[in-house]
């Protein structure tokens, strides 16, 4: 385990302040290689996704082989190597949601917006993701709209919400349920 917590010998790719968060995550773990997942979480949370530059930076800082870093980043579904759309909609495809109609939700989004799991609309506005159980099975089918979990959603509601996103911020603000400070917000990116 940790001997001397060493300083990062590597300078961040830019002077973007968000790198400090990433550095802090590595420092907290003494720049040990086992801090890799923690560090990737920090990158994803700060930048929304993991690009090549950040992977190289993390690998050098933790003195981990590039291929190891890439292997870990692609093993876990939570990490994304592509930037997400402006808004994200996560449809739960856990068992409870599945039998209560999640496939219909995905189908509706697919038909209306021509995107599947992990895809973003051409205008870059909306990304569709799926998750296996959000723990809100009591309210199946569940979905997360920009971090806010919603229960008992139906096809119409999903389509309406996504249309509102596509049609600009004004329409989104008008939507009654979207409160900016959501306590239980999920950090899907």
């Amino acid at each position: 385990m940790a001997t001397n917590p060493r300083q990062s010998a590597v300078d961040p790719p830019s002077d973007d302040k968000r790198w400090r968060i990433v550095q802090a995550a590595m420092r907290r773990n003494g720049f040990r290689r086992d801090a890799l997942i923690e560090t990737l979480h920090a990158v994803q949370e700060s930048f929304g996704y993991l690009d090549e530059e950040s992977l190289r930076y993390v690998a050098r800082s933790l003195r981990a082989p590039m291929s190891h870093v890439y292997g870990v980043s692609t093993f876990y579904h939570f990490f994304s190597l592509k930037p997400a759309g402006e808004h994200t909609c996560v449809v739960c495809t856990g068992t409870a949601c599945y039998i209560k109609g999640a496939p219909g939700l995905l189908d509706a989004v697919g038909k209306e917006f021509h995107i599947g799991d992990g895809e973003t609309t051409e205008d870059g506005k909306v990304s569709l993701l799926t998750a296996r159980c959000l723990g809100s099975c009591g309210l199946a089918p569940a979905a997360v709209f920009d971090g806010q979990v919603a229960g008992k959603v139906n096809r119409e509601a999903v389509v309406e919400r996504l249309h509102a996103w596509q049609n600009g911020p004004a329409a989104v603000k008008a939507s009654p349920e979207s409160s900016p400070e959501s306590e239980g917000s999920a950090v899907y990116a």
């Binding site: 385990m1 040990r32 290689r33 086992d34 801090a35 890799l36 997942i37 923690e38 990737l40 979480h41 190891h68 292997g71 870990v72 093993f75 876990y76 579904h77 939570f78 990490f79 495809t93 856990g94 068992t95 409870a96 599945y98 039998i99 209560k100 998750a131 296996r132 159980c133 959000l134 723990g135 809100s136 099975c137 009591g138 309210l139 199946a140 569940a142 806010q148 979990v149 919603a150 229960g151 008992k152 349920e177 409160s179 959501s182 306590e183 239980g184 917000s185 999920a186 950090v187």
Partner: protein, 559 residues
């Protein structure tokens, strides 16, 4: 320390006695997703507006269990529980405080859902504010820990756990006392305690609920485990998909630290213990203990063959105790009340209670805790309120992707480890999904196989390729393109994958297929021979011509 806890308890009770009314608002994730935060805020404002602040407190509590009726609000003084509460309802609720409860919002609490439960793990859920350690202490929390550290040897702590008969709640049902003994006996000064909060079974949310509603109980259980096995560092490996649970856990750990219950000297003794959180990143297989360890070490979450078991060779090669959230949550009451008390509950081989997450085609979706040995019948029809609209329950799925479907006719069986196994399913972690006639069993089997296929880590051949082959066969069956030979091949593959896969994921991946074939073979046959889906779920292709054609390029092997 004991005095300090007593003092906190007294202060808490005094403070509570100041108020005539306590309005509990469930602010666990289920209710939050239907607007509980706004309701809580509105209630607070309404209390202020009515000038009742000195008599009435509005408190956020953990899950009350009946998540389907969320947001839930409970007024203790009036023994009234309100469901589906909206911001508009709040004036009526506050207005009714000094007169009578608002009948139109009430959720009846004299029902089997509330009466038949026996809450041990959930004793504080929905009662205390999970973000305040003082409330946990006032409810008797950490007193077991102090007793253990000051009056019991580690061996005595293990003896109590062994006497309780507690078996692991993470699915395997391995005797907890035995596991603790092995880790305690393992040589070396560095040992670890890990709490498995990866809860990957898609349709189970017990562990999430416990962590959100009563995180200190898990921490207390882990500290007790650390003392018993001789570890000084603990980790909670929790799914990143559970932000609220993570937040509550973080808060709880720092509160416990400040209170002197975690750190170099736990409760003013020479025993030191620390807990850190490690986040999962969306991989079901990381619930498997060796994969979980790899993940904490910053690697791809791929399992490795056992033995050696983590108890001898775990995190960073050191002896490691891994238990599930619910297993740890059972420890404080066992130490407080004695192992014998716990062993008096449940059945001969499955002691105590079990928390289940009810979901699917059932009226009362939510979280329940019942003694082991309760019949499935009672859980589904009485506690769960049966299928909405009085429909027929076709089957109950337990154990998630590793489990099976138990048909209606077998629901008089008790839930315990052995009886569920004999029915071709498993206890699993406690997800229970009720299916009615609108579910097709082939489709359900295909759903779980798809899950296992995408969650397979890819390390071993039988699971990596076998799950894909089985999925394709199930797809073929569900779309009416399969023959009886395909079915035979499917059964062969099930047997092979079960017996040759490296870890539990592959070894149990065929279970949903095997169990639906056991009880619902006729549905498979209907898809194959009659090209018909009895439940009307599967889309049967009318034209069946489908030839796979090679699409690879062997050509450009350069130079």
């Amino acid at each position: 320390m004991r005095e300090k806890l007593a003092e906190i308890k007294a202060i808490e009770e005094d403070a509570k006695a100041q108020y005539t009314h306590t309005v509990n608002v469930c602010t666990a994730a289920g209710c939050l997703s239907s607007g509980a935060a706004q309701v809580k805020e509105a209630l607070g404002k309404e209390v202020e507006r009515s000038g009742l602040e000195r008599w009435c407190q509005v408190k956020g509590v953990g899950c009350l269990g009946l998540c389907t009726a969320g947001p839930l609000v409970e007024v203790e003084s009036q023994s009234a529980m309100y469901g589906h509460v909206t911001v508009e309802d709040t004036p009526a609720i506050v207005g009714g405080l000094n007169t009578k409860p608002v009948e139109r919002l009430r959720v009846p609490t004299g029902t089997p859902f509330f009466l038949r439960q026996n809450r041990i793990v959930l004793e504080n859920s929905g009662r205390i504010d999970p973000e305040r350690i003082e409330e946990y202490i006032a409810a008797g929390g950490y007193s077991g820990l102090v007793t253990a550290l000051t009056e019991m040897t580690p061996a005595q702590v293990i003896d109590e756990v062994t006497a309780s008969g507690l078996r692991g709640r993470g699915g395997g049902g391995y005797p907890t006392g035995l596991k603790w003994t092995t880790v305690a006996k393992a040589p070396g000064p560095d040992k670890y305690v890990i709490c498995n909060a990866d809860e990957g079974d898609p349709g189970a949310f017990m562990d999430r609920s416990v962590l959100e509603s009563d995180p200190h109980r898990v921490i207390e259980g882990m500290i007790l485990a650390g003392y018993a096995v001789g570890a000084s560092q603990g980790y909670v490996y929790v799914r990143a998909e559970y932000p609220l649970a993570i937040e509550h856990l973080k808060k709880a750990i720092s509160q416990a630290r400040r209170m002197g219950l975690l750190g170099r000297s736990v409760a003013e003794t020479t025993f030191g213990f620390n807990i850190d959180i490690r986040l999962g990143a969306g991989a079901f297989v990381c619930g498997e203990e060796t994969a979980l360890i790899a993940s904490i070490e910053g690697k791809r979450g791929q399992p490795r063959p056992r033995p050696p078991y983590p108890a001898e060779y775990g995190l960073w090669g050191k002896p490691t105790l891994i238990n599930n959230v619910e297993s740890f949550a059972n420890i404080p009451p066992i130490i407080r009340n004695g192992g014998e008390w716990y062993a008096s509950l449940g059945t001969e081989k499955s002691k105590g209670t079990k928390v289940f997450a009810l979901a699917g085609a059932i009226t009362n979706t939510g979280i329940i805790e019942v003694p082991m040995g309760t019949s499935l019948q009672e859980i589904v029809y009485e506690i769960g309120g049966g299928v909405p609209g009085g429909g027929r329950c076709k089957a109950v799925q337990t154990g998630g992707p590793s489990g099976g479907c138990i048909p209606d006719a077998y629901l008089d069986n008790p839930v315990d480890y052995d009886s569920l196994r004999s029915l071709g399913s498993i206890m699993g972690s406690g997800g229970m999904i009720v299916m009615d006639d609108s579910s097709c069993m082939v489709d359900v089997a295909k759903y779980f196989m798809e899950f296992c296929m995408t969650e397979s880590c890819g390390k071993c051949v039988p699971c990596r390729v076998g799950t894909v082959q089985m999925y394709r066969l199930l797809d073929k069956i569900s779309t009416g393109r399969a023959t009886l030979e395909d079915l035979a091949l499917l059964e062969n593959l099930c047997d092979m994958v079960q017996n040759t896969s490296l870890c539990g994921l592959g070894q149990t991946a065929p279970n949903p297929v095997v169990s639906t074939l056991r009880y619902f073979r006729d549905e498979y046959i209907a898809h194959i021979e009659e090209k018909r889906c009895p439940a009307g779920v599967c889309k049967i292709h009318s034209s069946v011509a489908q030839t796979d054609s090679p699409s690879y390029a062997v050509a450009e092997v350069a130079q």
